[in-house]
Amino acid sequence: MVKEFNILITGVGGQGVILMSELLGRAAVTDKLRVRGSEILGMAVRGGSVTSAIRIGEEVYGPLIPTGKCNTLVGMEPSEALRNIACLSKSSLVIINTAVTTPFTVFIGESNYPSPEEILEKLGKASGRIVQLDAAKTAQDAGSRLAINIVMLGALFGTGQLPIKIDTIKETIRERFPAKLAPVNIRAFDLGYETCRQAVK
């Protein structure tokens, strides 16, 4: 019986953060697990920051992950992972897509984008382990630029820590996408899965 397993997915509007949490939630219910979660959409759909929490287990009540209680942080964009540093603890694992989405405030000189070293240094201090992958490239290798979220979902399962069965999540992916797009997404999932599995070995 799972008591509490917390996943925070972060990214930028348009990257498919919400779809990823929907797939996780549905798969968890199929596996007869209790699921809670919440997301911030609102104005954020227009290219702002998006976060979605998925919490699985018998001792989960609230929709939010308590400070420092995140098991796995999925950063679909590096600076967005950093933005959520407060959810981490030394036992957390962080998976980051290294592909940067620069907000236009950087182009007009209103803000700066941190260097990869700065991001890793801070996240390293806060968490136990970091796995990096170029999900944008991996998605392209799988055959769809849009499948970044599915690559990251694969990577999340590649950690080997999730209480959901791999077969269930794959079945959920197949159900969610039209028959024509399912194989590409399964491929994206597998590539993400393998990359992460190699990294955490």
Partner: protein, 632 residues
């Protein structure tokens, strides 16, 4: 097996849903027959969910022009004995406030439920008002869920309670309920469909002073009965721990944070907890029982100390010597969290917090300066970007004529175009409430000499833009009123409205045009422009500003997201633009600094267009001084 959906009559089955879908499901289970709403985050998905299954389940669902109308539609159905729901975001209830206050005098025949979606931390709102006060003012009982499952159950029950006590009920949701996700267990769907019957009853339905005086005591009687009944509703639960010194009264969602907090602190068996599902009226007997059993009490609730004040009143009235905490330890602003409740409880029980929050805070503070600012931006190809640009060009031209010091004023409004208040557009000088742009412009015209160019969207125009427009005509205000018509209520999820030609249930209907309405209202300068033709749009707006008296310019272009969707359906290709690097003067940056389109990015010193994002609107090509931007 047939796939399980929100309308499946499959009691006992589990489904993973969004909170707002669960709320809609509750209404479906109750056999709601009329649902009316005006969109607003975080409530819109309730009505969208209902609209999608309305025909299948024989319900009537509408997007009303505004919340007042939505509530009146529901009220009328209830008067005729039919179960009805009106849903809106918290500030929408302000718009419906007028009929609401008298509706509670009328009471309910068919179950009548008002869903108020409050938004602690104002994630997508202009304020974080606490609508339990509005309910209190109107003697409207409030149900407040602690989870998504409970939100569904309460919604289903609210209709029954409303009929049982013949009173309007409010279900108060919050962002973390409506936009939470959870597995829920489905209940049975009521298939009862009633035929509406209007029974003439002037004493109950015609409000002159006489009826107000007759019906208020009746309402107070009904309320007294509800006050008693809430003590035994399953939504209020008292769990006394043996010898506990501390009691926690947890209202709504705060109950979930409270459960996590006491578990985290490992003091579950040392505190008594009163779960509150009806903050108004409070289950007084349960409150007294708790107060008498402990030395100290913490009231955990989001936003204002609503429950806290009532608990303090109860303690005072009954002379119970207990120390009551609440907003002295928990914030009035924003959402609560397991952490906030944990820290408050840790202080009261002198327990150590399970996590060193201070060191996490320190790391977070060190991190903050590294983070890039990522405000939500108008989409690539958004017509509002072009309108904002044209408005500014035109206004500056006129302002310059009036003298160096004069700057045009841009009263703005609530909709996607509000995102243009960020740089580089900086297109709004005020944003207060829906329709407020035109209203504020009316007032500014009385006290300043600068050109006043107000703008609002088409949905906002129908919602609350027409009365201030009429006001400008009637009182001869010299202002320019822009209607940015993108054929959608885009910000809240592209819902249809009276200017789109179809209804919530997908039926075709008449299409109202803002320009026709403006003309009919007596505006003498009314023009329609295409914002993607920047030059013409700016020239027309300039004429409107120079026009003596109220002027209206409708800036019409379909929302880029809908346009892209429709083009895809029609298999029509989008031709993106590109930057000709031989012509681009690397240092000018005009396209980025004037427009801020997310498709235009910098790669080192090079300006390039991301062809996967560009919708081919072409306005960047019009502002580039070097003619370096061309179609691919």
């Amino acid at each position: 097996m047939k796939e399980l959906t929100i309308s499946s009559d499959a009691p006992g089955q589990r489904l993973f849903v969004l909170g707002n879908e669960a709320i809609a499901r509750g209404a479906i289970e109750a056999g709601v027959q009329v649902a009316a709403a005006y969109p607003g985050t975080p409530s819109s998905e309730i009505t969208e969910t209902l609209a999608a299954v309305a025909k299948e389940l024989d319900m009537y669902v509408e997007w009303s022009t505004n919340e007042k109308v939505a509530f009146e539609v529901a009220l009328a159905a209830s008067i005729c004995g039919v179960r009805a729901l009106a849903s809106m975001k918290h500030v929408g209830v302000n718009v419906a406030h007028d009929p609401l206050m008298t509706a509670s005098y009328i009471g309910a025949k068919g179950g009548l439920v008002l869903l108020s979606a409050d938004d602690p931390w104002a994630w997508s709102s202009q304020n974080e008002q606490d609508n339990r006060y509005i309910a209190e003012q109107g003697y409207i009982p409030v149900l407040e869920p602690s989870s998504v499952q409970e939100a569904k159950d309460m919604m289903a029950d609210a209709f029954k309670l409303s009929e049982q006590f013949r009173q309007l009920f409010m279900l108060r949701s919050v962002t973390r309920i409506g936009h939470a996700r959870s597995d829920i267990t489905l209940g049975e769907i009521s298939r009862e469909r009633r035929k509406g019957q209007f029974i003439k009853d002037r004493t109950r339905l015609v409000y002159t002073p006489r009826e107000a005086r007759i019906n208020k005591p009746l309402m107070l009687e009904r309320f007294e009965k509800i006050k008693k009944a809430v003590n035994t509703l399953p939504y209020n639960q008292l769990k006394l721990a043996d010898g506990a010194k501390l009691g926690i009264i947890a209202c709504g969602l705060s109950y979930s944070y409270t459960l996590e907090a006491v578990k985290w602190l490992e003091i579950e068996d040392r505190v008594s907890i009163l779960k509150i599902g009806t903050p108004h009226p409070l289950p007084e007997e349960l409150v007294i029982k708790l107060l008498k059993s402990v030395k100290e009490v913490l009231v955990a609730e989001e936003l204002d100390p609503f429950v806290e004040l009532h608990v303090k009143a109860i303690a005072g009235e009954h002379n119970i010597p207990v120390k009551i905490h609440g907003k002295d330890l928990l914030p009035r602003i924003g959402e609560l969290s397991a952490r906030k409740v944990t820290e408050a409880v840790a202080r009261l029980t002198k327990t150590k917090t399970p996590v060193d929050f201070a060191s996490i805070d320190k790391l977070e503070q060190e991190t903050a300066p590294l983070l890039p600012w990522r405000p939500p931006a108008l989409c690539p190809g958004c017509p509002h970007r072009a309108s904002h640009y044209a408005i500014r060009v035109a206004s500056r031209r006129v302002a310059r004529d009036l003298g160096k010091e004069v700057e045009a004023i841009y009263p703005g409004d609530i909709g996607c175009y509000a995102l243009g208040y960020n740089p580089p557009q900086e297109a709004s000088d005020t944003i207060i409430c829906m329709g407020g742009s035109f209203g504020i412009a009316n007032g500014l015209a009385r006290v300043v000499d600068a050109p006043i160019v107000a703008h609002l969207g088409d949905s906002t125009f129908f919602h609350s833009g027409i009365p201030p427009l009429v006001n400008a005509v009637y009182n001869k205000a010299n202002i320019t009123m822009m209607i940015l018509d993108n054929s959608a209520t885009a910000m809240t999820g592209f819902q249809p409205h009276p200017g789109t030609g179809y209804t919530a249930m997908g039926d075709e209907t008449v299409l109202l045009k803002p320009e026709d309405i403006a003309r009919a209202c007596g505006v003498k300068f009314v023009e329609v422009v295409d914002p993607f033709n920047l030059k013409e749009a700016a020239e027309t707006i300039e004429k409107a500003i120079r026009f003596e008296g109220p002027a209206v310019v409708v800036s019409r272009r379909l929302c880029a997201i809908i346009d892209q969707r429709e083009r895809k359906k029609r298999k029509e290709e989008t031709i993106p633009y590109r930057v000709d690097q031989d012509k681009c003067n690397r240092k000018c940056n005009a396209c980025i600094e004037l427009l801020g389109c997310p498709a235009i990015i910098k790669e080192g010193t090079k300006t390039v267009i991301d062809s996967s994002l560009c919708t081919g609107c072409g306005i960047c090509a019009q502002v580039c001084p070097y003619k370096a931007i061309v179609p691919e």
